[in-house]
């Protein structure tokens, strides 16, 4: 039931109803992603400052990273983003069961990401590397900054993944009770935007933390 009003020339104009405004919801999500961009941007700019100050230390510290685990997580997130996109596509085509399967696959992959991350952090703790640890304090200033930023950034990113998993169960509930359907799927679509963003952050984390150590010559 939407309200229609008429101007002096008797032309009809539809009044946008805030209760059912898909375009508004989409804009809201994009604005939210802008804020997320500025949030992570704060850490990336801090990274830029310290990478400029301690280039060689960063490259050296990066050699401690397990490139295979980082790579594995990249692949996991990439596939998960693809799965969620498929979930949206199937929902639009009114294939609810397929949509739900891809959503569940995304959840499984997100959990896998966290498990890999757990093993990575455990390995670093095992080597005595955690913020303010005696081992880390014995290393160079640059290594200190590198690991400080590494734990901050991957920690905050991991938190986004965990919140994403919680949100996906909530989305799944809405699919199950029919609130998300072939006609109204903006919540699912918006969540897919969020998930793409979380994935995109990781795409920048990998070269900045895992791949800079690949250069054998060091920086000059």
């Amino acid at each position: 039931m939407s309200e229609i009003i008429y101007d002096k020339n008797n032309n009809a104009h539809e009044v946008t109803d805030f209760n059912d405004d898909v375009e508004g919801a989409r804009q809201g999500m994009w604005l939210f992603l802008f804020t997320e961009l500025m949030l992570f941007g704060g850490i990336f700019i801090t990274y830029a400052v310290y990478f400029f100050d301690f280039t060689d230390d960063f490259v050296q510290a990066s050699k401690n990273m397990n490139l295979w685990l980082g790579g594995l997580n990249t692949v996991i997130l990439l596939i998960s983003a693809g799965c969620l996109a498929m979930s949206v596509v199937f929902m639009k085509a009114n294939k609810v069961l397929e949509s739900k399967r891809f959503l569940l696959a995304t959840i499984a992959l997100a959990i896998a990401f966290i498990v890999v991350k757990y093993f990575e952090w455990s390995a670093e703790f095992h080597h005595g590397i955690w913020p303010d640890s005696p081992t880390l304090r014995g290393m160079s200033d640059g290594a200190n900054m590198y690991f400080g930023l590494y734990f901050t950034l991957t920690g905050l990113h991991g938190l986004h993944i965990i919140l994403g998993i919680v949100a996906m169960f909530w989305v799944l509930g809405k699919v199950n009770n029919g609130e998300i359907n072939a006609k109204k799927f903006i919540v699912l679509e918006n969540f897919a935007l969020y998930w793409d963003y979380v994935h995109l952050v990781w795409v920048f984390v990998v070269p900045l933390f895992y791949m800079i150590g690949l250069s054998t010559g060091g920086a000059h």
Binding site: M1, S2, E3, I4, I5, Y6, D7, K8, H13, E14, V15, T16, F18, D21, E23, G24, Q27, G28, L31, F32, F34, T35, E36, L37, M38, L39, F40, G41, G42, I43, I45, T46, V49, Y50, D53, F54, P131, D132, R137, S140, D141, G142, N144, M145, G148, L149, F151, T152, L156
Partner: protein
């Protein structure tokens, strides 16, 4: 929302809640999703904290009446000015006008039935309340309130043993509330304008809120991450701001001001919006230079991002960077100056009606000009090095914040009080308190320009005897300011109960909210108006458009 609610009843009588139907009036308020009620909820919490921060300021002025320790311990004084600053900035001035009038009035002005995301709107108030409660708790527990000042500069903020983590977290939550409010307003202004209302038919207050909302969305996350990094620094010792581990404490200043300088425009732009509304209404003339005022808000918001470095002229920064930041800071004065001349040109040859909102606005134009022009002097690098961290800066800041934002918040309260409550405030009391606060602010802060220029440092609980005369004059001003602001609040509280009925449009305003009953009904516009007129059309001193709301026939399909 299956329960039937009468959309045409006053919003005090009926409301939509986020879940269920509540018999209790209290629950109906704290779970409301009506933008008007949420604005009032914000207003109540803010005013309580405002009085606390005002009282703290009074105690500091009492301490400073004579040299030496009188009332506070030195450490206690540090906590007092931190409490004053943090409450005033994060709980009052930053959320202030957007959360109160942006919520209550902006949707009315654009002919909307609510904001785009009413439940998110309620969530922001709860986040705000949570942040405020944590701030309060941090003052009363353990080692007491932070003593870092409201800027949390490292390395002191990571070394002091007061409750810094709690207050950082509180500020983070308040930042989230601010972000979501901004997000909500941008989408609302994009999507819910009444048919026919293009961007350049919006009232100028809506332009102010729109520019502000973009700053809230794009700048607040930067302070969010800065506060988080400072928390991680204290809790985990990550070292990013700790020079003993290779970190750079100045980086915190940069990150902090990347947000906090745009934030001062975030504070002032809605106030400018209120000025545009009041000047136009009480001059009974179409605003002069509508496009210039609207776009100057947007350009202040834009340039405001690029000037943060002027807070760090004496912190250690390259000479090139200093000169660029200084130049860009001067540049902000241009769009601000454009606004001032436009307001004065609007008043020129208008038939000015000196009701309380207009009186306070005209006086604010004076106090803000003093604050603004001394701000331009501070943008000059050489002069800034002389007066950095002195009372000169504090005086400048209070002329723009108290004499700009807070004055306009109260002017907005006088202006929209009849619309929101349906009652008129006590006009005699209003005029007395307005003159008193104007005289008070000049007694309070004008001497501090001189004391600061002569070398009186800020944030000191003690001073050399030759500065006593300045502090004593300021003390008289403080009594006047505090007394008159409390008198205004008392006026609102009394008049909400006992004021005279004011009717739909006591000021002959032209914007859409004045076409609604006072107080407005729950659903705002029974029939959404078609806006084929400009926001400020007067004819012989009377609003030209009279009948947008009269026709209440609702047509639906």
């Amino acid at each position: 929302m299956g329960h039937h609610v009468d959309e045409t009843a006053s919003f005090y009588k009926a409301t939509h809640t986020v879940f269920g139907h509540h018999e209790s009036k209290f629950l109906q308020w704290i779970f409301t999703v009506d933008h008007k009620r949420i604005g009032i909820l914000y207003g109540i919490v803010m005013m309580i904290f405002f009085v606390v921060a005002l009282g703290t300021a009074g105690l500091m002025r009492y301490e400073l009446m004579a040299p030496g320790a009188d009332f506070f311990t030195p450490a206690g004084f540090n906590q007092a000015f931190s409490l004053h600053g943090i409450i005033m900035i994060f709980l009052f001035i930053v959320p202030g006008i957007p959360a109160i009038f942006g919520n209550i009035i902006m949707p009315l002005m654009i002919g909307a039935k609510d904001v785009s995301f009413p439940r998110l709107n309620l969530l922001t108030w709860w986040l705000f309340l949570a942040g405020a409660s944590i701030a309060l708790y941090s003052a009363l527990s353990g080692t007491g309130f932070a003593d870092t000042g409201w800027t949390f500069y490292a390395p002191y903020s990571i070394k002091t043993d007061t409750n810094v983590v709690l207050i950082l977290f509180a500020a983070f939550l308040l930042g989230m509330a601010s972000i979501f409010t901004g997000l909500n307003f941008v989408v609302t202004i994009h999507r819910l304008r009444a048919p026919g209302m293009g961007f350049f038919k919006m009232p100028l207050f809506v332009w102010g809120i729109y520019s502000t909302a973009w700053i809230q969305v794009l700048a607040t996350p930067v302070v969010g991450i800065t506060l988080l990094l400072a928390i991680f620094e204290r809790v985990f010792g990550i070292g990013i701001f700790d020079p003993t581990k290779g970190g750079d404490p100045i980086l915190l200043q940069h990150l902090f001001w990347i947000y906090s300088h745009p934030a001062v425009y975030l504070m002032i732009l809605p106030a400018f919006g209120v000025i545009s509304e009041i000047v136009t209404t009480f001059s009974r003339r179409e605003v002069f230079g509508y496009h210039a005022i609207a776009l100057s808000s947007a350009s202040i918001a834009g340039i405001g991002y690029l000037v943060w470095g002027h807070h760090l002229f004496s912190s250690g920064m390259s000479e090139t960077a200093k000169i660029i930041f200084s130049f860009l800071t001067f540049f902000v004065a241009i769009p601000t100056g454009i606004k001032f001349y436009d307001w004065i040109a609007t008043m020129y040859k208008g038939s000015i009606v000196m009701e309380a909102p207009m009186l306070l606005t005209v006086l604010t134009i004076i106090t803000f000009a003093i604050g603004g022009i001394t701000g331009v002097t501070l943008a000059a690098i050489g002069f800034d090095n002389q007066v950095h961290d002195t009372y000169y800066v504090v005086a400048h800041f209070h002329y723009v914040m108290l004499g700009g934002v807070v004055f306009m918040l109260f002017a907005g309260m006088f202006y929209w009080f009849p619309k929101v409550t349906g009652k008129m405030y006590n006009k005699l009391s209003a005029n007395i308190s307005i003159w008193a606060v104007f005289i008070g602010i000049n007694f309070l802060w004008m001497p501090m320009f001189f004391a600061g220029y002569l070398g009186m440092p800020r944030r000191y609980f003690d001073y050399l005897p030759e500065f006593q005369i300045y502090h004593q004059i300021a003390g008289i001003g403080a009594v006047l300011v505090i007394g008159s602001l409390l008198m205004m609040l008392w006026n609102f509280i009394r008049s909400a109960k006992n004021g005279e009925e004011c009717g739909e449009n006591p000021w002959n305003g032209t914007t859409l909210e004045w076409h609604l009953p006072s107080p407005p009904p729950l659903g705002n516009f029974a029939k959404t108006p078609y806006v084929d007129f400009r926001p400020y059309e007067f004819e012989k001193g009377e609003p030209k458009v009279k009948d947008v709301y009269q026709d209440t026939k609702k047509e639906t399909k």
